[in-house]
Symmetry: C2
Subunit: 188 residues, 2 copies
DNA sequence: TTGATTAAAGGACAAATGTCACAAATAAAA
DNA sequence: TTTTATTTGTGACATTTGTCCTTTAATCAA
């Protein structure tokens, strides 16, 4: 399992076994059950979570109490509340498990230490954020240029394996349409 | 003008005059006229642009030929096609000037060199990307949780000074609604 | 298993938004 | 200035999407 994180990081930068052991010593392991919150709105959220397995949703609760889903996270992805993580503010997002989930987490402080001692890792995190940025930009483009039907088809193409694991209600919330509208789309 | 970039960077990391001169030596200056393209779809886009002044739009042309605006950039902001910049692929975005615009630009290669020689700058760019990530996430949340009226009000709150400088057609394109719909919102 | 909760589909109607057309106002160019 | 584009507003109507409601199916816990 430790190897899973190593392999993940090595997609971006090369690491000797010794170096990885050093990197790994900055992480903690933590497991969560289905329905459990990893991050909860209003609390501090100083950690960035690497998902070993499982499935989570990251969402925000709007004024009228509606949930809006920003992201689904699954094996080998990272989740956090970036605002809370980087600015040390209280979380405005909720990250909750849809399945039992195991994680490696690193606190902001430990990450700073790690990057100071091993510059490569600064590069790793920087690259990771850049890729996330590209993903978010793609999502914005999809939201402003496509209707519900096309957004759903785009979702199917991007995450074909998640459809079975996530209730339609949540996919609708991710796409920014009502559950009923999603239910009426042609399921080609 | 050189000081403007220094002050901008110093909001994130401290730099001696000597260090900044070194940083600055990795940048080039380039000016553009209104209507001119900084980045054009299909071309390579190896540079990241810091805007000294002026106004630009970053957009994508959809299948049916419609323009969808991802971002407006003005003094002290950065613009690029992140995908093209980081993956060395051809640009899928257009960045075009709405006003005469002066920039400092840094190529991907020069940025890599700079970060290798002055680790602080890796931290600077990393922080910059993180803040951009937070902004994009906020935008997504706005798009999936608000109707046209509220998205427009949100835009007014976030960019009160841009409204006079940007035609409504483009604001509509940024918000993901038709020009006519935007025109009919209550302009409270 | 049984009962309770949750998820999904679909009808009926209202509200929001898009499209097309045209006219007025404004800005840019000659 | 005059001429030409561009921008903006608005009406009429079609389409999309949201809301409320009921029913059925599926899932989960005791």
């Amino acid at each position: 399992m430790k190897q899973q994180l190593k392999q993940h990081i090595e997609k971006t930068i090369a690491l000797s076994d010794r170096e990885f052991d050093f990197v790994f010593s900055h992480f903690d392991q933590k497991s969560f059950l289905k329905h459990q919150f990893i991050i909860q709105e209003g609390n501090y959220a100083h950690n960035d979570y690497f998902l070993i397995n499982g499935l989570v949703k990251s969402s925000h609760i709007g004024e009228e109490g509606k949930e809006h889903i920003l992201q689904f996270g699954t094996e080998n992805s990272w989740v956090s509340d970036p605002q809370a993580y980087h600015t040390h503010a209280k979380a405005t997002l909720n990250i909750q498990c849809l399945e039992d989930t195991q994680t490696y987490l690193i606190s902001f402080q430990e990450k700073e230490k790690l990057c100071a001692d091993l510059t490569k890792m600064e590069k790793f995190f920087s690259k990771k954020t850049s890729l996330e940025q590209i993903t978010l930009q793609r999502r914005i483009l999809c939201l402003i240029s496509n209707n519900a039907q096309n957004r759903y088809e785009d979702f199917l193409r991007q995450y074909p394996n998640l459809i079975q694991r996530i209730p339609k209600t949540m996919i609708a919330s991710y796409l920014g349409v009502s559950r009923e509208t999603l239910s009426r789309l042609s399921h080609a």
